[in-house]
């Protein structure tokens, strides 16, 4: 079997896959739009309860991780493998930081009896239930993507260390970078929807 060296084709396939990820979240954005239209006031009230500071810090953390991932790819083009390993390590650490902050945020909500299926939400106004239902579903699904991203970047790190990825053969790294930017971009949409515009 011949080894493909068609970078353009590999990236083309990856872009198609990224499109499906966007559509996956797109379905949830449609649900958000519907319920925002239906329960605007409840959404605004519930949105004010979210912790803006934590959300902002998380946005900064994730954006920085996207930057380090991008630099890692540029470093790989120059075949600076040690630098790549360091940068990927930082990216993964930042991703873990993001998850930790998310964990604390969710923990605070859980402490206030706010979680899917809780008594408090079930007895409260419908719009608040919908808001938190979407909040946990969308940030939860996003967190799942962060975890997958950590695994993918971890594989890239291991492959770089073992010399399987290098400056001449970096399709996997580039595609992983694209995936990580997608995770970042989805958060860039989630953040204003839940924390800022309400």
């Amino acid at each position: 079997m011949s080894v493909h060296t068609d970078h353009k084709g590999v990236q083309f396939g990856m872009w198609l896959f990224l499109y499906t990820e966007i559509m996956l979240f797109g379905g949830l954005f449609v649900i958000y739009a519907t319920y925002y239209y239906q329960y605007t006031n409840d959404f605004i009230a519930a949105g004010k309860e979210l912790e803006l500071v934590m959300g902002t810090v998380n946005t900064a953390v994730l954006l920085t991780s996207s930057l380090t991932a991008a630099i890692a790819i540029e470093a790989m083009r120059k075949d600076a493998r040690k630098l790549v390993i360091g940068l990927l390590g930082v990216t993964i650490l930042l991703a873990l930081t993001f998850l930790c902050i998310k964990y604390v945020e969710w923990g605070h909500k859980f402490a206030h009896e706010i979680f899917p299926g809780s008594e408090k939400l079930a007895s409260g106004p419908h719009g608040v239930t919908m808001f938190y239902g979407l909040y946990f579903t969308m940030t939860g699904l996003h967190a799942l993507h962060v975890i997958i991203g950590i695994l993918v970047l971890g594989v890239c790190l291991a492959f770089t260390a073992r010399g399987k990825i290098h400056g001449g053969r970096m399709d996997i790294l580039e595609n992983s970078g694209l995936y990580w930017h997608l995770v970042d971009i989805i958060w860039i949409f989630l953040f204003p929807l839940f924390y800022l515009i309400l």
Binding site: F12, M23, G26, L28, V30, A122, H126, F136, T137
Partner: protein, 542 residues
Amino acid sequence: MSAETSFFNTPSPARYKGLGAWLLTTDHKRIGLMYLVVILFWFAIGVTAGLFMRTQLMSPGSTLMEAQTYNAFFTVHGVIMIFLFIIPGIPAIFGNFLLPIQIGAEDVFFPRLNLLSWYLYVAGGIIAIISLFVSGAPDTGWTFYVPFSITTKTGVSITVFAVFVLGMSSMLTGINFITTVHRLRHRDMGWMQIPLFTWSVYGTAWVQLLATPVIAVTLLVVIFERLFGVGLFDPAKGGDPILFQHLFWMYSHPAVYIMILPGMGIISEVFPVFSRKSVFGYKSIVAATMAIAVVGSFVWAHHMFVSGMSDTAVLVFSFLTFAVAVPSAVKVFNWVSTMYRGSIHVGPPFLFAMVFIFLFTVGGLTGLVQGAAGPNVHIHDTHWVVGHFHFVMFGGTGFAFFAGLHFWWPKFFGRMYNFRRAYAGAVLMAAGFIMHYLPMFILGLKGMPRRYYTYLPEFGPLNFIAGIGAYIMVAGIVLTFVNLLLSFRKAEPAGPDPWGGTTLEWTVPSPPPVQNFAVEPVVLPFPYDFTAKEKMKPGSGT
């Protein structure tokens, strides 16, 4: 081993032997045949479940099963036939095997991803079996409508997850095919030189890619609903069940075109070859394929005319539904015109294709009745609908599947089957089919609802006739498969081009060698130019 040795005898990857060389293969032809085996297994189970249901319905009252068992049967039948047979069937088997050969490529663009898709497909099937036994067989129907699907105590979560995994598999296959067509097409092959089957699989791949994520997320939300009680689709908590229906049909209606487009691709290959004449209106078939893919994505809400929508929405979706019939009709006229003044050689694939045209046309025309908002209200959720979608899906895609199976069987295995048994199988299947599904239209018009395990006594005679038809049809299916399997016992070599086809797969030996082309393929200026072929290889086409 010479470059001409068939892919059966050349293990891929080379270091493995026997079953391992199949299960770890990245050869698109082997993966296609692995799909063939698993998909036919599921088809057999789906047919059996359907036959049990029809036997129950042959007389009113609980003769064979209770209501709950019947619910489980129609759910299992639907899930298997839709997600495990019709959606993957033609693209996964024929697409995998033939698409790279038809465009002069060695393999698909992502061979390992292709193998992963197969494993995801098998995993989805296994999860679906598990769901039957964990907490009771699912009883929602294949549509998983909320709020019932989030309140029923049966194992719906696992079934839904199985469908999610199958969707993943279908999506990855789609990505693979699109990339293959774009990047691995032979350098002499322009877009208007691509064989129509590849065109249709390519169009289908786009629909798979565009639509599947929407159902993926919808199913995820259903799982979240069941596990955590989120409430997004639960009216008691302020959610909207209609929203589920929109999201569900936003995928599942385009999925209907995922089912039928590759079937149309097969028919577009069979007609020119058996008429010995260039296909009529190649470009219009291509355009119609893409038009169906696009317009078909805008018609989903015709499933919801009685769910509660604004009159404007009903009007718009009714109009768009009519619009999608236009490109379908264009294709039917193209196929019929292809035969005009052709030199028709009848063979089993051709007979299946003729039956396809008839049944698909009936299915399409009855679809228009449903697309019109007025009659839709009358026949909604009756047996009319069951009759219609079986005419389109089985009479359309199913018969196209059999046409393709008979058309390319010699290519797959290098053996020819018995023609007389194939004709008998086709005729039995078609006659049984009409006897089975035609009464459903009358039953539906008279008001017999679908999804019920029993009915009023006056519906008895027609249901009995339908049941007899079902048995005749299944006899035809069994005969067809027995005939195909018997071709292994009596080795009758088929030769590279038994039908006199012009597309690239007929220029390579049957079965093809592992690298597909031992010599550089010659791409015809037009894929269905029979005269050019005659000039190039005198004496062929017999």
